[in-house]
Amino acid sequence: MGARVLENVKLIKESRGFVDCLYSVLTAAGRFKGAKYLLSGMAGFAFIFSAHKELIVASTEMYGLRTTALNSLDILGYYSEVYCGLKNCLTFPLHQKKAIIRTKESIDAGMGTIVWAPGITDFGVIFGYDDEDGVFFYRDRHHKDEQILLYDNLGRVEATFWMCQIIGDSIEKDIKDIYLDSLEYAVDIWETPYLDEVVHNRALASGRKAYEYLIDGMKSGSFSELGAARLIYFNVIAREEAYLYMEIVKEELPECYPAYLKYKELHDIYQNIKGSLPPPSMPGQEYRIDRTNQLPQLIEGCMKAAQVEEEAVNELKLLLKERLSNRYVDILDVKKFK
C-alpha cells in the first residue's frame, strides 16, 4: 500500500483546459519554465479551432482530444501514453485498470497526469494517490481545493468519452524543430476540414471549415448563443497566444516575420471582436451573444478573421513549403511494389 502526493501542482484557468493542465504538470515537475502562451504555441493549441455545425457549447473541446494530446506532446519531444475510450466500450475495465497503474507509476516518477472529466467535464491534473483509501487527488480549474477521485471512478465520466494521459521522458529536441513542427501542425489544423475521430459524420469541423460553420451558423440565426460566444471567446484567447508565440518564434526564425505580422493583424481583429462581446455580468457566467445588438458586428469580425487567418496560414505554407511537400511516408510500401 502506497501513497504519494506531488507538491506545487497549481492549476489556473487561463487558456484551454489541456494547456492549463499541461503547463501545471510540466512546471510542477520542473520540465518547463516559459510562459503559458509559449507552451500553448509550441504544443499547437494556440492554432486550434474546432466547431460543431450547430455551434453547440461543447464545440470548443471537440478537436479530437486523443489525437491532439498525443501530437502535442510529440511536438514538444515527450513520450506520452493515452488511455481513453467511449464509456460503453466493452474493454473499459481493462483500460481503466492499466490507466490506474500507470497513473500511480507516473506520480511515483514525479509527474502528474492529465485527465479528461474526472468530475465536471473539463481537464484536470492528478497529482497524488493513496492506496489505503483507494483514491487519486486531482485539481480542476473550477475548485480551489484538491478533489478526490476514487480509483474505480477513473474513466467513469458524465461525458461519453474519457481520457487519461501519462507523460514520460523527453528527447533533447532543438527549439527550432519544435517551432517548425508546431507551425506545421497549425497548417494541418487549418487545412483539415472534418474531425471525425469519434462521431463519424461531418458535423465537426476544424480550421477553415470551422470558420465556415461559425459564420454560416450566425448568419442563419439557428445557433446557440452560448456556444457561438464561447467559440469566439476561445479564439480571442488562442489567437492572442498565437500572436505572442509568433513574436518569440520570429526571434529564432526571422523568416517567420511575414507570418508574425499576419497573426498580429489577426490578434487585433480578435481584440475588436472581444469589444463586441461584452463580458458576463456575473463572474463564472459564460459569454452569450446578444442577437439584436452584437450579431452583425460579430459576423463581420469573424469574416475578417477568417480571411486574415487564411493569409497567415498561407505565409506559414510558404515558409514550410519544403517540409509540407516532402513529408509523404510510404506506409504501405507502394513504391516498393510499383
Binding site: K87, N88, D145, I148, N153, R156, V157
Partner: protein, 296 residues
C-alpha cells in the same frame, strides 16, 4: 395512463354487469391486490367515474351508465411498445432530452413532436415481446424457464429468478439469480430461444446489487466510516446512504463530499471520521479556515 388497458377491461366488465372487483383485476393482469385497488381508486377519483361497490355481489357497477371513459389513443400493443421504448431511452445516454423522452414514454402519452436528434430503436424485433413477458415476470416475482443459446455451451435449459432488465453495449440484458448454480446470471435477450413463465414465486436476494446492472458506467460512491455521539437519521434523499455498523459508528455512502462535510460540521452529534483520511483532512482544513476568518 399506464393502467388504461386494465381500466378498459374493468369498464367492460361493469357494463356487462359482471360486478368485477380488485381481486378479479389482480388475477387477470397478474398484479397485486393493492395495485388493482389503486387502479379502481384512480378510475373513481381522477377519472370521476360514477362507480359504486355492491357488497352483496362483491363487485363494482356503474351508477350512471352514460359515463364514458376518456378517449384512449393507444391500444395494448402500442402500450407495450411505448413501455419498451421508455425502458430503452432510460438506458440510453443520460442527456436531459433523452431523460425527457423516457419520462414521456413512461407516461405513455402521445404528445408534442420531437424536433431534435433522438436515438431510434427497432420495434420490429422479437425482443419487444420477450421484454414484456420478462417485465411482467419481474413485477409478479415469477420464476422463468429458458432455452438459451450460449455461445460456448450451445443450447442450454435452466430456471432463473428474473431481477432486472437493462440495456448495455447495444443489447438488451436480463440479470437474475440461478438457484441451481447459486450465482447471479446475466443473459442477452436476443439469445433466448424459448421462454416459459412458471407459477413458482421467488424473493430477491439481499446480495443483489442493482446498480451493477445498468446501461451506464455509473460512478461508485465515496464511503466514510463516521462516529457520532448519538443515534443518526440522515435522510437518504440528500444523495447519501447511511448504515449502522456498531455502537455509534456508521458507514455513509455519498457522492458530494462538500454536502457531507456541511452536514457533519452542523451536526451536534458528530464525533470523528474514522476513514477515509482525505475526508478528515478536508474537515480540518474547513474548520481551520473558519476559525482563521473568525479571528480576523
Amino acid at each position: 395512463m399506464s393502467n388504461m388497458h386494465r381500466l378498459i377491461w374493468f369498464d367492460k366488465q361493469m357494463r356487462a354487469l359482471v360486478y368485477p372487483n380488485r381481486g378479479n383485476m389482480a388475477e387477470k393482469y397478474e398484479i397485486s391486490i393493492r395495485q388493482a385497488q389503486r387502479d379502481i381508486d384512480y378510475l373513481k377519483n381522477s377519472l370521476e367515474a360514477p362507480i359504486r361497490y355492491d357488497a352483496k355481489r362483491r363487485g363494482y357497477y356503474y351508477e350512471d351508465e352514460s359515463y364514458i371513459l376518456p378517449n384512449v389513443y393507444i391500444n395494448d400493443l402500442q402500450r407495450r411498445m411505448l413501455k419498451f421504448l421508455a425502458y430503452r431511452y432510460e438506458n440510453y445516454t443520460q442527456t436531459p432530452k433523452v431523460a425527457q423522452m423516457s419520462e414521456l414514454f413512461k407516461k405513455l402519452a402521445e404528445e408534442e413532436e420531437i424536433d431534435d436528434e433522438i436515438p431510434i430503436f427497432d420495434l420490429g424485433k422479437p425482443v419487444v415481446h420477450l421484454y414484456y413477458t420478462i417485465y411482467n415476470a419481474i413485477c409478479s416475482k415469477k420464476k422463468l424457464k429458458f432455452l438459451y443459446s450460449d455461445p460456448y455451451r450451445g443450447e442450454i435449459s435452466f430456471k432463473l429468478d428474473p431481477y432486472k432488465l437493462f440495456f448495455r453495449y447495444n443489447t438488451d440484458h436480463l440479470v437474475g439469480y440461478n438457484n441451481e448454480h447459486q450465482n447471479f446470471t446475466v443473459l442477452r435477450l436476443d439469445r433466448i430461444k424459448e421462454l416459459q413463465v412458471l407459477s413458482e414465486s421467488f424473493t430477491i436476494s439481499d446480495k443483489f446489487e442493482e446498480r451493477k446492472y445498468s446501461g451506464f458506467v455509473e460512478k461508485e460512491p465515496y464511503v466514510a466510516r463516521v462516529r457520532f455521539t448519538g443515534e443518526q437519521h440522515i435522510k437518504v434523499d440528500r444523495g447519501m446512504k447511511i448504515r449502522h455498523l456498531e455502537g455509534l459508528t456508521y458507514e455513509i455512502q455519498f457522492f458530494d463530499a462538500e454536502e457531507l462535510i456541511n452536514l457533519l460540521i452542523c451536526s451536534s452529534c458528530f464525533d470523528k471520521v474514522l476513514s477515509p483520511k482525505w475526508l478528515n483532512k478536508k474537515i480540518i482544513t474547513r474548520c481551520e479556515e473558519l476559525i482563521a476568518r473568525l479571528r480576523e
